[in-house]
Symmetry: C2
DNA sequence: GATCTCAGTGTAAGCGCTTGCATTTGATTC
DNA sequence: GAATCAAATGCAAGCGCTTACACTGAGATC
């Protein structure tokens, strides 16, 4: 029946060990239910044949995969990479395997990836941010897949989440900036469409303005994709504009790094001529010259906690609860009172 | 038979559409073999039920998964993230899905992940570097999984690879350094054990010394894990040593960034007091102050080509051929003739 | 010594899908 | 209208595994 030298199956192992397939299966899954002597025999056969259980068959029969799926916008963004690494490590210690896909920020691809992971039998799912089609949420609900939203915190949503309040965090930074005496503020924001994190951060700055009686509608904002070079370009545009701001607040550290670079190229001193702030506190922030004032976010901690929470949801069939993490402002050399 | 409101199966779709399961299956896999009218009926039913094919069952029946697995040491390393993102994008355009796992540089975990991906029916595998247990290679061979090695180039290995010659690239940089007049050279290397890339880079520097009649055995080398902070610490140790080098060559940009940071903290000017070089040319390199002289590696290109090659191997059942990519030296402000 | 237990093992029924082969259908030809 | 044939569809056999249930036999109980 089996082709010569083909991949060994449970049957092969059973035959070699001289037991039934059920016993082999039990050796692999519930070893304590098999007597020592038999187990040794079986394990030897497994070893000898180089047997690996076929995952598909296993899933079909057992309905459990010990697999968690995660879909992130891109692996190229350090904050996701970092959080996900921690997520994976924690999952691993619980006996779960992580499968990662990236969507390149495209909702259609994300939907496809979600379906793919579900079809692969993921026991649970980690998604980034709330912003997505209602149909997808309905789909997840009907498939009854425990799903956790990370990198976002928002009350009153259907799915549990873990993250921090982007808006409030940025508002806090904005208020600091204003407290230092800045009045001419410009913003380089990440792309807001379909990205609740970027949107929240932008709104946070506007909130800060409002609190201090300034008009958020006159705030100059340039929106641009997550790339150092884009930050540089946007910064150039802003500084070549009619009214030079005293501070440029960026939606993330990568854009801020680009801004800083362009400032240097333009012969502007930071923070004497213009202050620059970021968001995320990636490693980069500390080694820039000058070091970047930014909002620190506990990415690793978030990844770890997300794993704990999701495993809990999967195993206890719980709905899961949302966790809010605290961010904090890191004051560094790139921000000072206006000169 | 089916529990109320459970996940819909092919049978459910067939029943609702009033056709056989075979027809539904064909609608999904070979639509041209089904007449328009039937297809519409079936697709409507699929839509209505929110049906997603069960992956495990599909694999079992069809023996093909259109899935490629990749195992990288860590997602936190920008070079892997970047290459992998390109890898995934290219795979996606060929209709394949990428599953990523990370091993945290631990061979045991890597072996486990390889088995896990194979068990999940990966049609092909992407691994980083050659350095691993022979048993694993034997296992892959017996499972007949097309495997491509990336981020490494070496002739005469069993498996095809795609990458560049770490050793020769670093040697080229080393010769440049020496040509500039440097004689007191120190090295901060990544951890060499089980990492052929780091090992090759270190050897490359020694080769350069040899070419210029210098003794590679007297080369001061500090080996330390991939972390900015470690680069800083190592740099401190080197500069506090008895003989200050005129140049510190680092095994990668991250270590170099740390070195640069510590240099600044120590009040040393780069490159006047000491030159620093890196390897990889990650984005970081360009925005450091001063910008880092480093070896540019086409990570995205490598990821893309790796995908093309691997798909070819999977579909044409070919053994695959190795591809050598060219690296190039990026001269920037952090390297100059000794002062 | 007969009866009862129960741990250890085997038997066999699926899990949801694909696909070779058999059958039906409907268009085409004579 | 009968005969022919290709296209469309249905039937049913697995794919490799888990697990409910049945069975076996050795020790415990009376």
């Amino acid at each position: 029946m089996s082709r010569i030298r083909s991949v060994p199956t449970l049957d092969d192992v059973a035959r070699v060990a001289g037991v039934s397939t059920a016993t082999v299966s039990r050796c692999l899954n519930t070893p304590h239910r098999v007597v020592e002597k038999t187990r040794t025999k079986v394990m030897t056969a497994v070893e000898e044949l180089g047997y690996t259980p076929n995952f598909g068959a296993r899933v079909m029969a057992a309905k459990r995969t010990y697999t968690i799926g995660a879909i992130i916008p891109t692996m190229e963004n350090a904050i996701f990479a970092r959080g996900l690494q921690a997520f994976q490590e924690e999952l691993h210690s619980h006996g779960y395997t992580l499968l990662v896909s990236s969507s390149a920020y495209r909702p259609d691809i994300e939907a496809e990836q979600i379906r793919s992971l579900v079809a692969r039998g993921a026991d649970g799912l980690l998604l980034i941010g709330y912003c997505r089609d209602q149909g997808l949420y309905a789909y997840l609900k009907r498939q009854a897949i425990p799903t956790l939203i990370a990198w976002a915190f928002s009350e009153g949503e259907d799915l549990p989440c873990i993250g921090f309040d982007n808006r409030a965090s940025m508002q806090a930074l904005g208020e600091q900036v204003i407290a230092l005496g800045h009045r001419r503020i410009a913003v380089i924001s990440g792309v807001v469409a379909g990205n609740d994190r970027a949107e929240g951060r932008l709104q946070g700055i506007k909130d800060a303005l409002r609190v201090h009686g300034m008009d958020p509608d006159t705030l100059p904002v340039i929106e641009t994709p997550y790339e150092i070079e884009n930050g540089a370009t946007a910064f150039g545009q802003i500084m070549d504009g009619p009214v030079r701001p005293t501070v440029v607040m960026c939606g993330n550290d990568v854009l801020a790094a680009g801004a800083l670079k362009r400032a240097r190229e333009m012969g502007l001193n930071v923070p004497e001529d213009v202050s620059i702030t970021g968001f995320d506190d990636i490693e980069l922030a500390r080694i820039l010259t000058p070091p970047l004032t930014t909002v620190h976010v506990p990415h690793r901690e978030m990844g770890r906690r997300a794993a704990v929470e999701l495993v809990e949801m999967v195993e206890r069939k719980g709905t899961g609860s949302s966790v809010q993490l605290q961010s904090s402002i890191r004051m560094r050399g790139s921000l000072a009172a206006p000169g």
